[in-house]
């Protein structure tokens, strides 16, 4: 069940502003979609879904708040819902080798880096949806305050979780 906004029309000025902001922060859409999707096709689909929800939500965006925070909230909410509904639809799929779909099969590339990228991808995919969001925000160097604001938990809780996450990264990767 994907959440959605009621349709709201943007005037020309809003459209222009939206296009500029999205262009500046488009990496957020790609990163969130890449983190939660099951493969390249699913990633494109999810990125489009996020973009559509951002478009619908933009008339309600409060300009006094950080655009990236607003964007992360929508992108993560859409992505987690997408993941949950995809999991329900395809719960019993044979496990895909998720670590492979983003990594080019380039024999000349740095082998060690490839191994690390695969290990990181596997670690991300092994996290529960909400922990995955926290990990993504941590890797993106978001402040504790912004993470708390995006996720809707306290800063202390974020700090505790990050500390545990770091330990797990050291242990598991």
């Amino acid at each position: 069940m994907a959440p959605s906004y009621p349709a709201m029309a943007l005037d020309a000025e809003q459209q222009q502003r939206f296009a500029e902001l999205i262009d500046q922060h488009r990496g957020i859409v790609f990163k969130v979609a890449g983190t939660y999707a099951r493969g390249p096709d699913d990633r494109d689909d999810l990125a489009q879904e996020i973009a559509a929800q951002l478009w619908y939500g933009f008339p309600r965006y409060d300009g006094s708040r950080r655009f990236s925070t607003w964007m992360y909230r929508i992108a993560l909410n859409v992505a987690i819902s997408h993941l949950r509904s995809a999991t329900q639809r395809q719960r019993h799929w044979l496990a895909l080798d998720l670590s492979l779909h983003d990594v080019p099969d380039d024999h000349d590339a740095d082998h060690e880096h490839n191994q690390q990228v695969r290990a990181l991808h596997r670690f991300i995919q092994a996290q529960e949806p909400l922990n995955r969001a926290l990990l993504l925000l941590y890797l993106e160097d978001r402040s504790t305050r912004e993470m708390a604001d995006i996720l809707g938990i306290t800063e202390t809780n974020v700090a505790t979780k990050i500390s545990r996450l770091k330990q797990r990264i050291r242990d598991e990767i």
Binding site: A2, Y5, Q48, A51, A52, Q116, V117
Partner: protein, 221 residues
């Protein structure tokens, strides 16, 4: 791997993703916008229609029926059973609409995810509570309808028919549950989704409860 090193790897992964990203963020793709627009709206419309129909049934038929026949015990009981069902249907539909109206995806992730799981589990319970009882309930509705429109009391004319049909209804209910469990188990084996069977077998509800626990864990830890 240390966390600083991990962040470097993340940047590398991000760089590769962007290199491969042939995706054009075409925000104005009509098909996508139409699909998104209709997601919750359709559900709200369906619930609104359900409320309108059952309110009409309650006000025009069921309420006046049991009031009129309150001196005849079996008709009073049948009327009250149908009345309770109508109230339950209207109540759960109103609740679903209220939950849908609260969902606003630019709110914090934990809050929205909790609301979505609440809505999903309510929908599943709604399906279970309101679909399955129709196996025995249809005869109740049939007796009320015949009495209401034709003035014939089937219960008095043929109590055997009434109780046999009611019994068959309960058996049908149990058989439906058994088949749903079989279909859900087969779906697990073959990998083909069977959402209806999953709902009836209680698996979807179990998953929704698990997700709710996952959210609670995330908030507490």
């Amino acid at each position: 791997m240390e966390t600083d090193q991990l962040k470097q790897v993340w940047q590398l992964l991000d760089h590769r993703l962007q290199q491969q990203q042939a995706l054009n963020l075409d925000l104005f793709k009509r098909r996508r916008l139409d699909r998104t627009r209709s997601a919750l709206r359709w559900m709200m419309l369906r619930q609104s229609i359900q409320i309108a129909i059952w309110t009409a049934v309650l006000v025009v038929i069921v309420g006046p029926f049991w009031i009129e026949h309150r001196a005849t015990t079996h008709l009073l009981v049948l009327g009250l059973v149908m009345h309770a069902y109508a109230v339950l249907t209207i109540g759960t539909s109103v609740l679903q609409i209220l939950l849908m109206a609260r969902i606003d995806v630019d709110q914090p992730v934990v809050r929205i995810q909790r609301q979505l799981v609440q809505l999903r589990s309510l929908r599943i319970k709604h399906n279970l509570l309101l679909s399955l009882p129709w196996w025995p309930l249809w005869i109740v509705g049939f007796v009320i309808g015949v009495k209401w429109w034709l003035g014939v009391d089937l219960y008095v004319i043929s109590p055997g028919f009434f109780y046999t049909t009611l019994g068959v209804g309960f058996v049908g209910l149990l058989v439906t549950l058994w088949i749903a469990r079989r279909l859900a188990a087969r779906a697990r084996m073959t990998g083909k989704p069977a959402p209806m069977a999953d709902d009836l077998a209680g698996h979807s509800l179990r998953r929704a409860i698990d997700q709710m626990e996952e959210i609670a864990r995330f908030e507490k830890e």
